[in-house]
Symmetry: none
Subunit: 216 residues, 4 copies
DNA sequence: GATGAATGAGTATTCATTCAT
DNA sequence: TATGAATGAATACTCATTCAT
């Protein structure tokens, strides 16, 4: 009768979205523990009790936000695998990188929370969520690699597991750089404009294809 | 009259080191904001006032600790550049990876703080410190790449800047994986033993050398 | 326009009783202030607003419940006085004790509330209710004592008021022990089975009759 | 190094006593859950943090207060047993009653807390404390009864256990009445002056000795 | 008549920082 | 120099009550 979500789900769309937006922003800016429920309700101009009615407690707020995010995370990966099947291996990787950039641009705060989560061990759901991400990534990359080897686009002496690790590293790091460069506020270490990074996507893929050395 | 540090520097060596060790551990385990001055003095068995005399305030404690750490960070990089000059490019990269692992094993808490710092924007000194790290990294890699191209070990159509970015990404990510797998407590997502990761060092270098593709 | 109770009285019998039962249980378990309207409506599966429509406010709920209880309290006393008139004084006392036990077994929650009320001064209705209880008790015992003296079953040098006080004390305390031993949950300090306590009823009456000393 | 008590024990006597007095009063007036740490510090005019430094948390405050009280509780009982050994059984009982009244007059708030505790099951330490009280009471009364039977002052057909129960009931209830009549604020149900109750002490003892009946 | 979302003053507890001793 | 008691604004969370639907 009183599932915490129910009350929240029944809210007028506009308000519901404002609440989600403010809460997401708070966690994106401050991480979990340093995020303040007080601040959220202050900015929203609603009563403290309301937020707790909606989500039960602080962790509930976070889990609601992040639970939604996870799903949005997985969908693009599937789409890419489906829409690009049969195409060139490295083209698929490049598409994935750009899809990642698109996701980050669409959900910058979610990605910022994800980044904070990476090395802050006391985030709620951290372990379950991060392993989910790793799994999703592996599940996406492994078939690509296998097919790449089969189709002769990748060297057949590759250890597929290592290749997946390498690809994952490079791609993940690429997206981090993209985010750091493009997200407003706070993270900005690199300075870069959009074009430069998209060139990098191509360059990175190119490196993956050809390696750096001449001996190849 | 007195710089805050002065009092601290005059402490008996043993005590000074204990203070640094406990404080470092606290920041490594909890990050900056979640670290508790109370806990530090409790574990040390000294008065709270003393710590504030030594360092002024919480941020002072952190800055002192991390100021020291930065220097320890830079030295190994220089050593590698000097001791391996003239050698094969990819050997130097591999050596660097292993040197990084050595550093992490020797200073796990420092590295853990560094990881936490990466995406938590409100860390004190974050910007200055991280750009210093980036610069150091670039300063180390750029000449390597240039020499590599010059000596014909790297393709001469490489964009050196992109190559540096790629190398940095892969190497950084490799060290993160190493740390995550080997640091006690909390971070462990991957499960891996030592040997496996050293094999990966070679594999990663190998990928960098040969790329993944067959067309090369 | 409507007395708050009106709405409630019009409820279907079954629902009305469920509401009363749940509310009584809540107050029995937690006392007045610690009782939670939230918990009551949760268990009932009705809207919070409804309960407030029925009773006005928290105090209203309590007063309604307890108003009912008082009547149930008084009836058994009258019955005993009527059905045992003319009998032996101490038999009447023993009967009263057992009647008390019967009431407690039939209305354990009401008695639990009464016990909590005894020394918690901020219970609503406390003063009026407790003096009512005292009065009822006195009104019941005083004639018994007077008749007992008259009929020669009690010593004629007794101060009747003191005797009433003594009887009331012993009987009240006996019932407390009974309740504490038999009510489920929480109160249990003494451990006792049913038989033992009924033996005690006889023993207590005996002590009241003969006293403990030998000189008598 | 930081036992909660330490800080508090070092306080100037006057302040320490004020803190204890205010806190005790708060618990006496409101019981445990309804007692407010906010109110205590407000009345004391000290910072909220200070109280928590002293006692750790709310329960710590309560346990400190009540831990002290228990000891004060036990001493008078011992004294009576020692100073009246060999005297007439019923004199000893009467002395105990008056000693109880003295304790209550000296520590009215403690006794008030004890009364609240009796039927409020969620008091911290309730079980341990109440069984301690029961034990102390039994340990005190049982030898008295045994000696009373031996010395021929009590009937030798008494079940000693029942006799202890009866004595305990009557005495406990007598003290409750005394407290209720004499404690300022709140509890007052009976109206009575001091003399009347001391007469009652004698009357109660008399009843215990001779009983109420003529047949004896 | 019934609902249940909104409220906001209330709760206990923490913690970096100050300063008199 | 070292101490550690005092501070008070901050934290997450609760709950009786109201009122528009």
């Amino acid at each position: 009768m009183d599932l915490p979500q129910k009350t929240f789900e029944n809210l007028p769309d506009k308000k519901r979205e404002r609440v989600l937006a403010e809460a997401t922003l708070e966690f994106a800016e401050h991480g979990y523990h340093q995020a303040s429920v007080n601040r959220i309700v202050e900015r929203l101009g609603i009563a403290k009790g309301s937020l707790f009615k909606y989500f039960g407690n602080k962790q509930g707020i976070f889990e609601y936000i992040f639970g939604h995010a996870v799903n949005q995370f997985k969908k693009p990966l599937k789409d890419i695998r489906n829409t690009t099947s049969g195409k060139d291996f490295f083209e698929r990787i490049e598409k994935s990188l750009l899809a990642g950039c698109t996701f980050i641009t669409a959900h910058p705060h979610i990605y910022r929370i994800y980044l904070k989560m990476l090395f802050q061990e006391d985030f709620p759901l951290r372990n379950t969520f991060l392993s989910e991400v790793r799994q999703a990534s592996t599940k996406f990359l492994r078939p690509l690699v296998d097919q790449g080897i089969e189709s002769g686009q990748l060297r057949n002496d590759l250890d597929p597991e290592m290749a997946v690790f390498h690809l994952d590293s490079v791609m993940d790091r690429f997206l981090q750089s993209y985010a750091v460069a493009h997200l407003d506020g706070g993270i900005g270490l690199y300075e870069a404009d959009h074009e430069v990074l998209e060139n990098k996507a191509r360059a990175v893929t190119d490196f993956l294809r050809h390696g750096l050395g001449t001996t190849s």
